[in-house]
C-alpha cells in the first residue's frame, strides 16, 4: 500500500494522507506516513505477563512485532475478532508494531482545513492520543497521534 504523505493547499493548510480505520462504531485516521502494511487478522502468540494493551506477538516476514490492541489503548471495550479485523503494521521512530483494528476502511486525503481540535469534554487520557478531529464525507474522523500512542504504551 503506497502512502502519499502531506501536501499544502494555497492557504498553507496541510492536507493529511491517512488510513481510515474503524474501532467499535468510531472512525479513526492513522497518518499514512507511519503505515507500512495492512494484513488480515491472524492469531498471535500471547506473551505471559504482557499488558492487555500489548497481548502478544506476530512474525511479519521474519520480524517479531508486538500486537497492540488499539481498542484498549483508546479505552474502548475489547471485542471478538471478525472477518473484517485487520492488523495494521505501523513504524514510528524505532518502534514497529501491529495495530489490531476492527476494520480498515480506505486510504484518504483529508483537507487541512477540515481538521479541528478534539472536543474539550473528552477524557484527557483519550484526548492525548488524538491530534485532531475532522469531518470527512459526513463522518467524524479522529486523527490519531501515533507518537502519543507509543508513549502511552511505554508508560507503566
Amino acid at each position: 500500500m503506497t502512502m502519499t504523505g502531506m501536501r499544502s493547499d494555497s492557504a498553507g493548510q496541510t492536507d493529511q494522507s491517512v488510513l481510515l480505520i474503524r474501532l467499535a462504531d468510531e472512525v479513526y485516521a492513522l497518518p499514512s506516513s507511519y503505515v507500512r502494511e495492512v494484513g488480515r487478522y491472524r492469531a498471535f502468540t500471547p506473551v505471559p505477563g504482557a499488558p492487555s494493551t500489548i497481548p502478544g506477538i506476530i512474525s511479519q516476514r521474519g520480524v517479531i512485532l508486538p500486537v497492540v490492541d488499539l481498542r484498549l489503548v483508546l479505552g474502548l471495550p475489547t471485542a471478538e475478532t471478525s472477518r473484517s479485523t485487520r492488523l495494521v503494521t505501523v513504524a514510528y521512530e524505532d518502534v514497529d508494531m501491529a495495530l489490531l483494528v476492527d476494520a480498515v476502511i480506505d486510504l484518504a486525503v483529508v483537507p487541512g482545513d477540515a481538521f479541528g481540535q478534539p472536543p474539550a469534554g473528552l477524557d484527557p487520557a483519550r484526548a492525548r492520543l488524538l491530534r485532531a478531529v475532522a469531518l470527512h464525507e459526513d463522518q467524524t474522523v479522529a486523527l490519531l497521534d501515533v507518537g502519543e500512542i507509543v508513549a502511552a504504551l511505554r508508560e507503566a
Binding site: T45, P46, V47, P48, G49, A50, P51, I54, I57, I58, S59, G62, I64, L65, P66, V95, D96, M97, V150, L153, R154, A156
Partner: protein, 139 residues
C-alpha cells in the same frame, strides 16, 4: 539445547540447562523422588500460571525440575520435546519487554513458522518461591 514444552493451549521454549531433570508425573498428592537432596518440592502447573485459561485435563504430566537453594520447584506440563534445531532465539520487541509484569518471557523462536515464547524457568521458579514466602508471612 532447547526444549519445547507443551501445555494444554500453548507451546514454550525452555533452555535445557535451566532444567535439572525431567520426570514423569501423575496427579498424586505427594511428590518424593531420589536426588532432591532433602529439599521439599513445590509443584506448580505451568499452563495456568502463565494463562489462567490454560488448564490441562491430562493425568500423565511431565515435571521440569528446577532446584533452588532450599526448595525444588516442579513445573508441570503436558509434554516435553527436545529441539535440536539450531535456530536463533530473537529478543522480544522492546516495547513489550519493557512492560512485562514479570521477567519470565525472554525471547522468541520461530517453530513451524509460528513465534514461540522462550521462558526463563529459573526466574519463574524464584517468583513462585517469593510468592509462597509472602503468602506465608501474611497468614
Amino acid at each position: 539445547m532447547l526444549l519445547i514444552v507443551r501445555t494444554a493451549r500453548h507451546r514454550y521454549i525452555v533452555r535445557r540447562e535451566d532444567v535439572a531433570a525431567l520426570r514423569a508425573f501423575t496427579r498424586i498428592a505427594s511428590y518424593h523422588q531420589p536426588g532432591d537432596e532433602g529439599r521439599t518440592s513445590i509443584i506448580v502447573e505451568l499452563g495456568p500460571l502463565l494463562d489462567p485459561a490454560d488448564i490441562s485435563v491430562m493425568q500423565r504430566r511431565h515435571a521440569l525440575i528446577i532446584p533452588l537453594r532450599r526448595r525444588t520447584i516442579a513445573l508441570l506440563v503436558d509434554a516435553v520435546d527436545n529441539l535440536v534445531d539450531h535456530a536463533v532465539v530473537q529478543p522480544l520487541p522492546p516495547l513489550l519487554r519493557e512492560r512485562l509484569r514479570e521477567p519470565w518471557a525472554t525471547g522468541v523462536l520461530m517453530v513451524d513458522e509460528q513465534p514461540v515464547v522462550q521462558l526463563d524457568v529459573r526466574a519463574i521458579a524464584r517468583s513462585i518461591l517469593l510468592r509462597r514466602a509472602r503468602d506465608a508471612e501474611q497468614k
